[in-house]
Every structure is written in C-alpha cells, then in structure tokens.
Subunit: 232 residues, 2 copies
Amino acid sequence: MKIACLLYPNFTSADLINPITVWQFVPGVQFEFIAAEKGPVATDTGLSFNATHSFADASPTPDVVFVPGGAKPTFDALGDPALLDTIARLSQNAGWVTSVCTGSLLLGAAGLLNGYRAACHWYPREWLRKFGATPSDARVVVDRNRATGGGVTSGMDFALHMVGMWGGEASGRLIELMIEYAPEPPFGTGRPELADAATLSTARQFMAAEFSETVVDRAAQRLTASPRAATA
Amino acid sequence: MKIACLLYPNFTSADLINPITVWQFVPGVQFEFIAAEKGPVATDTGLSFNATHSFADASPTPDVVFVPGGAKPTFDALGDPALLDTIARLSQNAGWVTSVCTGSLLLGAAGLLNGYRAACHWYPREWLRKFGATPSDARVVVDRNRATGGGVTSGMDFALHMVGMWGGEASGRLIELMIEYAPEPPFGTGRPELADAATLSTARQFMAAEFSETVVDRAAQRLTASPRAATA
C-alpha cells in the first residue's frame, strides 16, 4: 500500500505524524513524503522534515493520497497551483483521497470534494461549501473514497478508523493498544460546544487572524473557472 | 522558555510532535532540536527530521529537557553514552526534566529518576525500578520537577497538563480547543486492562521482540558503577 503524503511550507506537523504513526503498522505500507522539491520542508513548530519526493517524481498512482492541514500556511497553500495540481493528479487513480484538519480545504480547492461530505477544523468548516462539499462536525467522515478528519488531533481517530476499514478491526485494536491510545484530555474543552465563552472567544480571535474566508473564495472562483485543472 | 528536545536515530516521532504542537502556543517558547550532529535524524516512520543543534552546541541551561521514546531504537539508545551524558548534563540546571513513553527509561539511565515516580509505556514500565524509580500507570506523572507521560499518545495529555502548570488553566483550555482535542478512540483498547486477550497477546509478542530487559539491566549496571557520569 503506497501512501502519498503531501507536504507544504509550515503545515501542521501533528496532522501528518499521528496518521503515519498509526499507518506504519499496516503490512506492506510505503510512505512517500512529497513536496515541491525533495529535501527540507519547514513545519508549524519550527522543526523541519525532509521530503523524499518532489511533486515531479512522486509515484503517479498511490493507493492513498493524504493531505495535512495548517493554520495560515494552509491558506497560503490554497494559492499554490503546483500543490493543488499535484493533489488533483495523484488523486485521479488513488483508492482513497484523504485529509486531516484544514487539509480538506486543499482537497476542495483541488476539485476533489464536489458533492462529498467532509470534515474539517471547526473554525473554517462551513467554507467547504464553497467547493461544493457538505461540511460535517463528525470527527471522521467517510463518503465513498473520500475520508477526512476534523481538527489537528482527529488524525489519530481518523487513521485508526482507516486501519479498521483496510485491515479489519483486529489491526485497529492492536495498534490502539501499542500506542496506548486511551486519551485523558485534561480540560475537556476540545470542541466549541464544550468550551466556555471566554475560551471560545479567544480561540475565534486567533483563528480569525490566521484563517481567511477571502482566500477560500478566490480558490473557489479559480476552481469554477477551470474545473479540470483545479487551479488558475 | 527554552525547551531542549533530544533526538536520536529512529525515535518515535509522535512522542515529540504532539508535545511541541501544544507547547508552540506557550508565549516566548523556543525549541532546540538536539541530536549527536546537526541535520537529518531518521524517525520511526521513515520520515527524517532536521536537528537544529548538536549535543555540543545545545544551550547548556534549558528551562525544560524533553526526551521522546521509541521501541527498539530507545533500547539501542540506552547504550549510547553521548546521548545519556547530554541528557544528564542539560538536566542539571533545567527547571523541568520530562519525557514521553519509553523516554523515561533514558531519563532513568541518565541517573535522573532515582527516588522519583514516573510514567512509561505499559510494556516496559516495571523496568523503571532498575533505575531506582517507582513506576506509575497514570497517563501523566509529576513528581517534583520530573514530569513523564505514558505510551506514545499520552504526549498530548502530558503537554497540556504542563501548559496548565506553566501558564494557567486558561491557556490549557484554549489550546485544547484550537487543536480540537476531543478524542474518540474507535476501538477502546488503549490500555492493557481494556484490551481483549488476543489483542493483548499479539501486542506482547510485538513488544517482546523490540524491548529488551537485558539492555535495561546493562544500563542500570553502568549507572550503578558510575552514578555521576550516568554511563560507563
């Protein structure tokens, strides 16, 4: 099973690392870490990762395409035609087209979610409609061969869910035990409806400074103008 | 706040990424990613990360020392005197000495857990006693300035707990919401006492092939023979 993981500048590293931590236990799995150029790619925390493949030399027919999200960096990436074209191209023959967090906005901008239900980070979730998708507040959404996770930490639930679909529940149960996934969130504020008003208001301010509806509108206009290429 | 993150060949990337995903929101935080040499370090999934500092040029007085774990790679690292000496040296004046998963075995081998309670991955947890530590099955254990998390995915709970201690609960509530940490483990087998017998037996076989009590015994003998340097 070949999994194409797309990397772009300053993406949210946890969106990628949690899924591949789970998927590394899938028998025969092979990851390709794909960026504009092979070599170092900055991530959100300042730690840089090394892409193993450029857009040009990625295997053209992966079994799974996976796109991580980010805060402002993902909105910058919505204006990157080479990234969106690569996502669209690799997804053409892929068995699964997947994302975590705002990665679903990139799938949408690549023309891959029109008519599909999808998950996303809670803040920009409704903007998926601009790409013809139906947003869901579920932590993991599977609609035909599109599988999407919610905000950042949903990547663990998302990846385990996929393992259950790919290899059966016994695999999922085993991996959950090996990575000791019995979470105990200390504050219990991990969804807008669980958070107190002050926490929610501060989070919204932070997100408003990072996430841009205008950028999504522009990406949607380009997609409408040029639906096959997915970018202007 | 300067956080020294220790990297070594093939360590478990999620052990590092989840905590720094949380900690990047701490005002004024600075990470140093420290390995034997600056530059690429392989991780468990095949993705490589770039260390920003070598052991020699790491800042000598970090506020926090953080050590991630791993499966067999951590047991290999237990025989690496340069790594253990660096952990011991940087911890000497650190405000907090911390780890996730089997990282606590490395803290133990560096002489830093004698007389302390500590968490660890469930499989090798009891082996902490060889370093004078008292193992705990809690997901996060804080004993004076030692803070340790359980297996792999505990890193999220551990890091949020620390943020609550460092910056107050409001910070913790905010970060939990921003990273949408409302986990939904799909299988409910994340601890030995929650798993069915077949899952537990398969996991134990996997762990027995990766984790070596003999290696821990040898590290403990070296520590006893040379308690100050922490290594032979």
